[in-house]
Symmetry: C2
């Protein structure tokens, strides 16, 4: 096989993640590697923890990045908190609730499923019924921002319900962190995980997690060892735990953490609430353009995530053809539907650095061009004006 250095094309990433990575963050990834026990590196680890606390709005001491992608962050939460025999109520309204169920089962727990239609928020009434019907349940798990559908669930309400029934909560914030309101301490979330490749606009591969005191108590009170050595927070925190005396556990992904540090710094420079507001406003502009083209959202307005826009594919269009034309002709990536939504929806991400005016224009413009080129019945000529009006009045 003839091979040479891999030089990727320059894409605009408006799928479900990874999102566009800011040049400052890309540059950070290439800074010289130093040792994972180097005192200078250890100082940077402390800054990452503080910056993650800022992003999660928490003072949880156990707030740190897991050295693997979001799915490993999910598994870190389940593997540490679910013991064999534990009953866990799992809400499913998309792909990732199903993955939570798998996690519970593989930890030896018993999942009790609360099903909602894909594209809908988790229904608190169903959750309350499940909590009442299962007084022996000890954990409630749900996804704040369903990346497979673009629906947002009400973390505060669901956590309150869980606590009234003596359940801990595990919350998936992979797509929400940095993009939409999330208040770990105010809402009393017990364990939460996220990813770097969504609204933090960092390269994929790292998963921030945070555990509060109550979750830590469950961990400390286990009668069995955590089944994963790599993810056992009793061991991981001996390395991330603070101070200059770190115990070697695994070799930290040094350069990936440079990137995360830079990404979190940029989030703090912008201000978390400002980032939420930017995501919200840009979503409205994208929506104006897409709706003008004739595309409808699959999620009701009140439950829509600004950073993940799932719209129905207009009648008669071939999903794969359109996405590959966008990619090949405009270097624009949008996402396909997952699971039952495959072939039916597009998922358009406006996450982190990708959430900016020029991307909205590119996306709406490219869709208008490609769809009309394919002879689809779309309302051409007005969409960009609607984007402009939404963005700038």
């Amino acid at each position: 096989m003839t091979m040479k250095s891999f030089n990727p094309p320059v894409r605009t990433l408006m799928g479900p993640g990874p999102s566009d990575v800011h040049p400052r963050i890309l540059e950070a990834l290439s800074r010289p590697t130093i040792g994972h026990l180097d005192p200078v590196f250890v100082g940077m680890m402390d800054e990452i923890k503080a910056l993650l606390q800022y992003a999660f709005k928490t003072e949880n001491a156990l707030t740190m990045p897991v050295s693997a992608p979001g799915s490993a962050g999910m598994e870190t939460c389940f593997a540490n908190l679910v013991e064999p025999g534990d009953k866990v109520i799992v809400c499913q309204n998309g792909v990732f609730g199903g993955r939570m169920k798998e996690n519970v089962e593989r930890c030896g727990g018993t999942p009790v499923m609360v099903q909602d239609e894909w594209g809908k928020a988790v229904d608190p009434h169903k959750v309350e019924d499940a909590l009442k019907a299962n007084p022996d349940a000890c954990i409630l798990a749900f996804v704040q921002a369903e990346t497979s559908t673009g629906a947002q669930s009400d973390v505060k309400t669901l956590v309150d319900l869980a606590h009234r029934h003596d359940c801990l909560t595990i919350v998936d914030a992979v797509t929400s962190l940095g993009g939409t309101e999330l208040r770990v301490d105010d809402w009393h979330v017990d364990a939460i995980y996220s990813g770097t490749q969504k609204c933090l606009s960092c390269a994929p591969g790292i998963s921030p997690v945070s555990f509060n005191e109550r979750a830590l108590q469950k961990l400390k009170g286990r009668s069995t060892k955590v089944q994963s050595w790599f993810m056992d927070l009793n061991l991981v925190t001996a390395y991330w735990g603070g101070g200059q005396q770190r115990t070697y556990h695994h070799t930290a992904p040094v350069n990936a953490l440079y990137g995360l540090h830079e990404a979190l710094l940029m989030l703090r420079e912008e201000g978390l609430e400002n980032a939420w507001e930017r995501h919200r406003k840009n979503h409205l502009a994208l929506r104006a353009g897409l709706e003008t083209l004739g595309m409808g959202f699959i999620v009701a307005e009140a439950d829509r995530l600004p950073q993940l826009n799932a719209v129905s594919i207009p009648e008669g269009l071939d999903d794969a053809v359109v996405r590959s034309r966008l990619l090949n002709e405009y270097n624009l990536e949008i996402g396909a539907g997952l699971g039952t939504l495959a072939g039916k929806v597009w998922r358009i991400g406006l996450m982190g650095h990708a959430s900016r005016a020029e991307n909205i224009l590119l996306c709406v413009g490219a869709l208008e061009a490609v769809l009309s080129g394919l002879g689809a019945r779309v309302d051409t000529g007005n969409a960009l004006a609607e984007v402009q009006r939404s963005l700038h009045g």
Copy 2:
């Protein structure tokens, strides 16, 4: 907390890893992120698989990088191959055999330990005795290159023994891959894992693994699910499995894989056997310098790893003081002892890009300078000449 972009010092990394990362690889990390399902990215994934097959000297179809550090590569091997109730013979001659034991236990298996002194190679006679005494054992696990001691064990002999007793083999090649002889197919290794941050000179965070047909049969024949969803190779290989039709499992660490691709390409440009020879020759030069200074190796000559040199700390010296002077005064990182060797040895790595003449000179020179500055009785004045003689005759 006042924070700014993290600009690491430029170190020379001669510890147990991470090793110096070549500028070409650092640059690769910063190339624009593209989607993990982008056809162009999928093409690069195929190249990484082919390059890993080259590095491992294998044609195993299941040869791929796990999206997490070496410890997760280890756990991937154990979690997929060890079922509850399985008896596994684990050889321990350093830190990492102990970690294997933990893995077996957490997978519900029963470890049978074969202990060798730290600093010695695994003794095939003891292994044979253990295999005979445990005819119900189904796996033999051992470390080829013990990073904690610098001892190398004889993979071919140990695998042959295991197969004669109907055991599969799991081999830790974290520190050996790319630095010292390793022939997965010729030696019939069943499952093997490595890391990117040692002799591949890549940033830490990724773990190449390879399974042969026999290991795959064990995986396919499991009666229980793999306990880790993230590491379940039945699922992971649906993404890495080949062709353009990849099934989403987790989001691949895109930029980290750019780096791995570049690192493997550089290994192929140099030639694997040439890289082994370079590590060997540079080890001899480092040894000449260190021995002239009066430092002795803890591993017998026949079992020494060229890329990981463990030497006794001369009498009367404070380990931490010396290492911190090397770091602060010469930006040179060498490794401390681990476990029972803490405070007694230094581990000096000559791995990948770090294994070059100028580094040997820096290391021997800095040790001579710092040790004599601290009043240690070292033979000054001849060590660099010995390095020169060894390198250039």
